[in-house]
Symmetry: D2
Subunit: 421 residues, 4 copies
């Protein structure tokens, strides 16, 4: 991974800001909310808080802070996620066994590590600076990734509770408007794909290479709840012709008849949000749909999904504007406004499923050691998503950023953008 040429003071400031953002996200939770794991994809919030801390302890403090003593000898076993190189660990499906350490100990752990990181940055050993700083930067990016997971995991956890609790009250929102869908030209040609800048990027964005793109037209915004509802009401979930076979089977056996979190009551559609249940807003982007549903919707609409290369070409042709990120504190997708032009929502609101499997770029290679396990070993059976969401920190996203999930997953803020090819 590349890293920013950054000075130590800036890093210390960002560190403080990013670390406290994690705690801000967890503030509305009860201790009991922070330990459960209602499905294996979800991790307990307390685990996220400890694991992101462990990352800094394991990869920064232990190698680079002289005489550092770990906060607790068992925490490496408890809070390692998937790094075989680091050693044994609690299995993913067993994370809810960690009722101890209690939440207050995890806060102490965070403080302990924060203080030692601050100390390290005040007085680092120059010999290791060029080696340490990229790892520290990776730790910050890693923590931001977990901030998004925290929001989606918290949403899932609270949604399984029959009381449907409010995570954070909605800010007053004006009435939304209907913005018609149009399709904007993206010219074909040879595009350079992958990260070419000087800042930070993940290793999966490297292996910069040229790709031949064919002419296409790309929708100016995300597909809305209203458009998706049309698909549903025309029988889309029951009509095999629109579906990939595995998706259709899954939808049937799982009784999927709408996106995740949608509920019908007294003939009216509601959806569970981080503000509690709310009436469905037809102008907001549809979200919490699987790749299968995105693909079925596209087939029903007579359009296609973009490949990740087409998406990146589109974002070169129409550089993304500011979007609705987690910084807004809304934590749910928002509708576009009529007075906007350009290609909208390329950034923020909802990750866009592409019809590209998550595979290595040509020339991709995994780093040696534990950090080589960060991305490469997941490059099978997952689809790439692009553009970030309402749960992504604004300074975390790039046009070359590759997110990835299995095609059946729905608990992330996932959405649809169509193309004409």
């Amino acid at each position: 991974m590349k890293t920013l040429a950054t000075n130590l003071t800036d890093t210390a400031t960002r560190l403080q800001k990013i670390r406290s953002q994690t705690e801000f996200i967890c503030k509305p939770l009860e201790p009991e909310d922070t330990v459960v794991q209602p499905m294996v994809d979800v991790s307990p919030p307390k685990w996220h808080m400890a694991h992101t801390t462990w990352f800094f302890e394991e990869f920064v403090l232990k190698p680079y802070l002289p005489n550092y003593t770990v906060f607790h000898p068992s925490y490496s076993y408890l809070f390692n996620s998937y790094y075989n190189s680091v050693g044994n660990r609690v299995q993913r499906a067993e994370r809810s066994t960690l009722t101890r350490p209690p939440l207050r100990d995890v806060y102490s752990y965070r403080n302990h590590v924060n203080e030692h990181l601050a100390k390290l940055l005040e007085n680092p050993d120059d010999r290791f600076l060029s080696e340490m700083m990229p790892v520290l930067e990776l730790g910050l990016q890693h923590e931001q990734q977990h901030q998004e997971l925290l929001l989606t995991d918290i949403k899932y956890i609270l949604s399984t509770n029959p009381l449907l609790p409010v995570y954070t009250p909605a800010k007053t929102s004006g009435k939304t408007e209907h913005v018609p869908a149009t399709f904007l030209d993206v010219p074909g040609g040879i595009y350079k794909i992958g990260y070419q800048g000087n800042g930070f990027c993940f290793d999966n964005e490297l292996g910069v290479h040229e790709v031949l793109i064919h002419d296409l037209q790309v929708m100016n915004r995300l597909v809305t709840n209203g458009e998706y509802l049309e698909f549903m009401e025309s029988g889309g979930y029951k009509d095999f012709r629109f579906w990939l076979d595995e998706g259709f089977t899954l939808a049937k056996t799982s009784n999927w008849e709408s996106p995740l979190y949608w509920m019908k009551q007294d003939n009216k559609w509601f959806r569970y949000s981080l503000h509690g249940p709310e009436e469905l807003d037809l102008n907001k982007p549809v979200t919490h749909i699987s790749f299968y549903e995105a693909s079925a919707y596209a087939n029903w609409a007579g359009k296609q999904l973009l490949t990740e290369f087409e998406w990146e070409a589109a974002s070169q042709a129409y550089p993304p504007q500011q979007g609705n990120f987690s910084d807004s504190g809304i934590f749910e997708p928002t509708a576009v406004k009529t007075d906007q032009s350009n290609m909208l929502q390329l950034y923020g609101d909802a990750w866009e499923w592409t019809y590209s499997a998550y595979h290595p770029y040509p020339g991709f290679s995994t780093a040696p050691g534990a950090l080589g396990e960060y991305n490469g070993k997941f490059m099978i059976n997952q689809m790439v998503l692009r553009g970030g969401s309402c749960a992504t920190p604004a300074d975390h996203i790039r046009t070359t950023y590759r997110n990835f999930f299995h095609p059946d997953k729905r608990w992330q803020f996932t959405g649809i953008r169509l193309a004409n090819k």
Copy 2:
């Protein structure tokens, strides 16, 4: 169910004492401990606290306290266990979704119901007294049953945590002694089985009837860890000849090689207890074994398990002495002492697996309404256990008391007594 002829003041006192005992049991827990459910048999402690409260609200306050308003309209849905007659409910396997209401709300719920019960007992409607008092008594007995489950569920929950936390520190205990096993005569004949007294009993103890018992000899105490270890060390878990076929298959597929909670480290046996891990005491009763293991052990020893009728006959021939119950605060089985005589440990320390399926007595009938669901509908595929354990309240047990679990269950304080027939 029968009930004690009791006066109101006594009941109010017992109510206060039993209800606060539940809270005493939960005091050492962190809020996070009270919400998880590491296996479907186990319920979250917070759920136990709320469910026992719901029982009084549903079956006592709602029908008998005029103008009573429920504490929260959703709690009946959240905290009903298995009463179809009362309506829908959170499924057993979903109890860990109840991160809300938080623990402090459950305490408020308990207080609210306690206060209204006190009020009701101060000034009851005489017309309903004879109808209400048995239900109130059942509520108390029910809460005591959940106190035992709380202890065993807490033990299981904490045991899944890699930190193996201490629930309550061990009281200093003297050295134990080896007391040889002897077999005492129980004469054959016609015995009256079932509860014939004037106090409380469960409906499954009724249908008092005569049973013809054949002469037998019954072991003077429970089988010890030391005796069980001999079985293990002689290859008992690998030798199909001693086992019921389903038990042998289960032991193989589950990699059972010792009782639940046993761990070998550096060639020494330890067991997890509510006092944390401790070295195995060979003189204490073996516990946390399934019926299958009890049966295999008996076969290996060339003896038999008792039927529940033989056990009850033995307890008529050798009326049980005081035992080690939850009142001692030890919460783990204890060794017998050499200066004792008689048939020991019939009460307390560990429930004794009998070779009797949990079936209705002749003449058994279920009560009408919800309380008829208390016992009868579980009378299949389970085995009867007798005598109470170190987690049973002393004033809860009787010689006619029938506990029941599936033959594969190990997380209760279950033990073995042998017979010669």
Copy 3:
């Protein structure tokens, strides 16, 4: 097990008769029918044919026929059922892997073993006669047990085929009549339970012992399809009040709404039989129901099921008449006739579920060696059935005969008899 004092010629004759009956049962099958295993309870017919042969080879020819060479060195591995003492074997769930040896080789195997058994019986070694003859007898009884399993397994296999093939055409049957249910007295008292004769019995019938029976009244015939249909039509499958909890859950999750093999078409009930699909005859006994359904039906009817001891007492009070056994070649239950009196259908037509778990009699002990695995190791989680069925050979049944299945099983010819207690 006890055995008949029998002479060698008689045994040779019975051997020939019983062995060829197995082949008679398999004659209507295609080779393809003989190899599949649509559920784990069912064994492929070819396997039954080979396994019953293996039993004689393993336990009679190998020990008692000098210089006997096994037909094929692998067959002991292929066709051992569950005898750990004999060694490794094909796992039960893997029996459909045995497409080879083909059916014709299994016939050769049968002939080979038949011939050597005949040779052995012509010229046995007197020294071993008293040891060998009981094993030979057990082999014959064992083969008869598999004849019943063959019929029920064939029925299940063919029923899963969408063509619903006819196994054997129905013989022309007269119109049936409705015979009202009455309840006959069985007086209480001490009854001797278990086999006391001089003929053959299984080890599970031994441990003859006295049991105290209380007065009861027993229905004069089996419950009919018509009576069961009333239960269904009054919503019996949906009303939890009649059900054991595990049964109700199973019925819901398995979508049970009628006995196995029942089908509704154009508002009319049919059932699949070994004669193909036929219209439901209301006067014939209901069959292919689980213990759970039998129990729910009894509760709905306000009656009880008998214990196995009560059944045996009833059969002492009303010695069973000839019944409808496999010898009739009908292979389905038949209706009783009005001109009959007495307690009907105690023998034949359908096995009667009792509310007794399959446990050892007092004094039961397993034989040493492989044959000790015949019965004892299954004495858990199963319920006793009494009286034989339309698939049982007439000379195989006794009033003391204990059949046993798990309470959820439905593919045997199982039925219901009620009692008033």
Copy 4:
């Protein structure tokens, strides 16, 4: 799909030849072999024989032969594979329920359809010729695909039998030689991908489009058993660093320690083949490995797998020679010979896993109606394989041919070719 401009006589000849090849493949089977389904991926051979016949009946005879009456009214239900458009069908996992119709009826069905197809070809209706001929051609290609599946399914079926039967005896084969691996240049540039000829191709080969390929070097032959054994012996199956995470987990939980069909006995490696078990030949290509194993092997070797586009570019640079196809009657991969040059084994021996997900080409569209379900709905979670195998008919393969399987599948003849990128 495109089709050959072909005359009717040629088609009639090919039809006869291809149809009888299916029967040739099934000749060594016992009827019992033709009905079982040891895993859900495998179909019973009898089902393949009937299904390929049904394809012609459903899509050719019914629409194009006037007054055609189906052979049996239920066969459309029994032998439809996955065409939702055609209607209900026996579920894939239920195919072993089809013990009836017996094998001889399936042969009659085949003859019936063959005769009517011959009749149709003798005297077709000219108005429909251009519509019918492509469907007939598709039926032939479809039957050839099932011939490959027949061979691999038969291999799997027989391999589960403890007797490890021989399907067909090995032809005498000379000693094999070791041919060193070299890497041949494939120049980068813009390549045209997809089928551009006038013959038949599947719809998934269309959407011909240009792809930018980067310079690479490609191995001159398939990876051998000997090379793969080195990977195994150096601990490759235990070293997570080489594996995709899902593959490593699967290998562990499935106890994979070698390719499918390999067995170690007395310290020597054997593999089950269609000639029965044979000693491992180190010079023959490794086969029956999953994508996960192919990928782990490539990582261990410090090389990469090709993408499907790189493979197609390589086959443009080095047009494939004749290979070892099913026509040879060997039905197992063969070793290359030293006197060969060029890039070897691009065709035949073993399908080559590519690191390309099976996705639609740009411009891909599904045909209307049932035949649109042929390929498109499977374009998720599967990986593309190229080049055909020892079980592929020689006249069935093309350089543009895209086979596809899930990355965990091992029962096909799958192999590895490496690249240097």
